[in-house]
């Protein structure tokens, strides 16, 4: 609304900004945005197109963006050469497992921090703030050693456990819980409901948007993560897709068509998820930074 009045006001003053110049500025802006969007999307477009090109078309000079011959051979081959289905499943279990456990444990701790009193609460919250700043690479070596000592290298529990709770998630949900109205849980408390019940039946349903946003963050981050799965898995049957594809390109004379078919399939869930929940996703990110 404000914007319309602004534009109306602007067009009412043709003397300060001539019509023609404004239109020219607009065209320049559009041209710039179209070019930027193309540059940003280029690797994605290239990935998808290359995945349906025959190999001989990919390595010819000069190479082209849009395929002249279309084929699904690369998809057939990648399923034979990399244990793709297995790695896809690994990624789903890893990212999904981390998301589920982390949402549960993060929200439990966030509930206690936002809604309950207990000795040591302040210390715990300060530690959470501190952990927000610690780069994950610092704990990489000892966590790996601990997992190795437990005999959990190359296992899902080993991959998932260290990430089953997360300082960012606790902080994010605590802020959200603080903003929820208090009267419903107070009423339930007076009626004798246990804290667990208040958490499960009142707070969690109210927090669904925040949980969805955080869940998307967790899922996306772990789906895409490279270093942790790379370090913790040594067999191609336990690798996640990013680790598997990264190692595959490093070890072989790269057949780009084949790798790009794998990459397209690996990124498809992220692209689809993004398109489905794009608005929520973008809003979610926006709210994490702003108080």
């Amino acid at each position: 609304m404000a914007a319309t009045t602004l534009e109306a006001a602007a067009s009412a003053r043709p003397t300060t900004q001539p019509r023609g110049r404004r239109r020219a500025a607009r065209i320049v802006l559009y041209a710039f945005l179209v070019l930027s969007a193309f540059v940003v999307l280029l690797p994605v477009i290239w990935m998808v197109f290359t995945s349906v090109k025959p190999e001989r078309d990919i390595v010819t000079h000069p190479s082209e963006l849009i395929p002249t011959h279309w084929t699904l051979d690369n998809y057939r081959q990648v399923l034979e050469q990399i244990p793709f289905a297995r790695q896809f499943l690994n990624t789903v279990v890893f990212a999904g497992g981390v998301t589920v456990f982390s949402l549960l444990f993060d929200s439990m701790t966030a509930y206690a921090l936002a809604r309950l009193d207990f000795p040591g609460k302040k210390v715990l919250f300060l530690l959470v703030l501190l952990f927000l700043m610690v780069p994950s690479q610092v704990t990489l070596v000892p966590v790996y050693q601990l997992i190795a000592k437990l005999g959990l290298v190359n296992t899902f529990p080993g991959l998932i456990m260290p990430r089953a709770t997360n300082a960012f998630g606790i902080f994010f949900l605590r802020q959200f819980f603080l903003g929820l109205p208090n009267d419903m849980s107070e009423a339930a408390r007076i009626d004798g409901a246990s804290e667990w019940r208040i958490y499960w039946q009142i707070i969690l349903p109210l927090a669904r948007p925040a949980l969805l946003t955080l869940g998307l963050f967790h899922f996306m981050y772990n789906w895409n993560d490279l270093l942790w799965p790379l370090v913790l898995t040594t067999t191609s049957t336990m690798q996640t897709l990013p680790a598997g594809l990264a190692l595959f390109t490093g070890e072989h004379v790269v057949q780009y068509g084949l790798v790009m078919a794998g990459a397209t399939m690996a990124m498809l869930p992220m692209i689809v998820a993004f398109l489905l929940v794009q608005r929520r996703f973008i809003e979610g990110i926006a709210t994490t930074g702003i108080k």
Binding site: T109, P119, P142, L146, P162, A246, A263, I290
Partner: protein, 316 residues
């Protein structure tokens, strides 16, 4: 970003006189303590085992010579001394800082520019926003494979397209003088959209009336940016600069995929060094020492940026 603890509720509750039925009240409180500990137990155990203990352990490890398999011996500050005398570490440290100093402002600047462009009413606005944001949801490791090929000097698309313009891509990623720049470009490409979204959220908090008043006064667009937009975005900028800076200091994925730190270590970052030391050479002690250097840098930068931006904190 407001990080203050909310102890107000607790304080009032404690300050209140014990009430008419003190016994009942204290048993209620004890019950609440118990259930609170139940709620935090899983996170505390996990954070203790995989965060607190590893931090202590990695600090301890950095004073030992440890291959992780044989017995480790205490070597005091030797790991740190050897590290700082090692030209590879020194140039990796320098390179990581250089990477952060170049990549952070460019990424944030582009993010702010696109946010301002896409804040106004525009046909196709949501398409442009989504397109610019897309890299943020994609795996940097996987997309780096695509970038590797796009930059290939023989068959890559970009050198081929730019050849008529006489723009040379050198020897691509094998070019020791250019590889770092390519790695930086990919790092910027990945994050611009993410920070743009944060700036878009920040822009919505600026009251429209300010711009309207500025229009009435005939203020130029640049002055509007300089005196309205930029100062009122100080809070958002503080947050974005800190997370962008920390992310830049941790560059790894595209380096691993595109260059493996090469050619001639010209793209090796500190995190890559941690990986190489720890998980290829199994020198866990010196890998931990490098990791702690990274912690110290991240802390210093967070503190400095916080101090700088909190001076210019605005409330309105």
């Amino acid at each position: 970003m407001s990080l203050q603890t909310s102890t107000a509720g607790r304080a009032t509750r404690l300050a209140r006189p014990a009430g008419r039925r003190p016994r009942r009240r204290s048993s209620f409180r004890r019950r609440q303590y118990l259930s609170a500990y139940g709620f935090i137990a899983p996170s505390v155990v996990i954070l203790g085992a995989f965060m607190v203990w590893p931090m202590i352990s990695s600090l301890r490890l950095s004073f030992y010579q440890s291959s992780g398999f044989g017995p480790s011996t205490f070597v005091g500050l030797d790991n740190y001394r050897t590290m700082f005398e090692d030209p590879t570490f020194r140039s990796d440290l320098w390179r990581t800082l250089l990477y952060a100093v170049i990549v952070t402002p460019i990424t944030v600047g582009l993010a702010l520019m696109f946010a301002i462009m896409l804040d106004r009413r525009l046909h196709g606005r949501s398409f442009f926003r989504a397109a610019l944001f897309l890299p943020a949801v994609l795996s940097l490791a996987v997309m780096s494979i695509a970038w590797t090929f796009l930059l290939d000097p023989q068959v890559g698309l970009l050198p081929n397209w730019f050849a008529p313009l006489d723009v040379s891509f050198g020897n691509g990623l094998a070019d020791p003088h250019r590889a770092l720049a390519y790695v930086m470009v990919v790092g910027i490409w990945k994050n611009v959209g993410f920070y743009m979204v944060m700036y878009l959220a920040g822009l919505t908090t600026i009251p429209r009336e300010l711009y309207e008043a500025a229009d009435v006064d005939g203020v130029t667009p640049f002055e509007k940016f300089r005196y309205i937009t930029w100062p009122l975005l100080a809070n958002t900028s503080a947050f974005v600069f800190i997370i962008a800076g920390i992310a830049a200091l941790q560059a790894f994925d595209q380096v691993f995929v595109m260059t493996r730190g090469g050619p001639y270590f010209q793209t090796e970052t500190l995190v890559y060094l941690i990986y190489r030391d720890g998980f290829q050479n199994f020198q866990f002690g010196s890998a931990s020492a490098v990791a702690w250097v990274l912690v110290v840098i991240v802390f210093i930068i967070s503190l400095v940026q916080n101090a700088y931006f909190s001076r210019r904190q605005v409330t309105y």
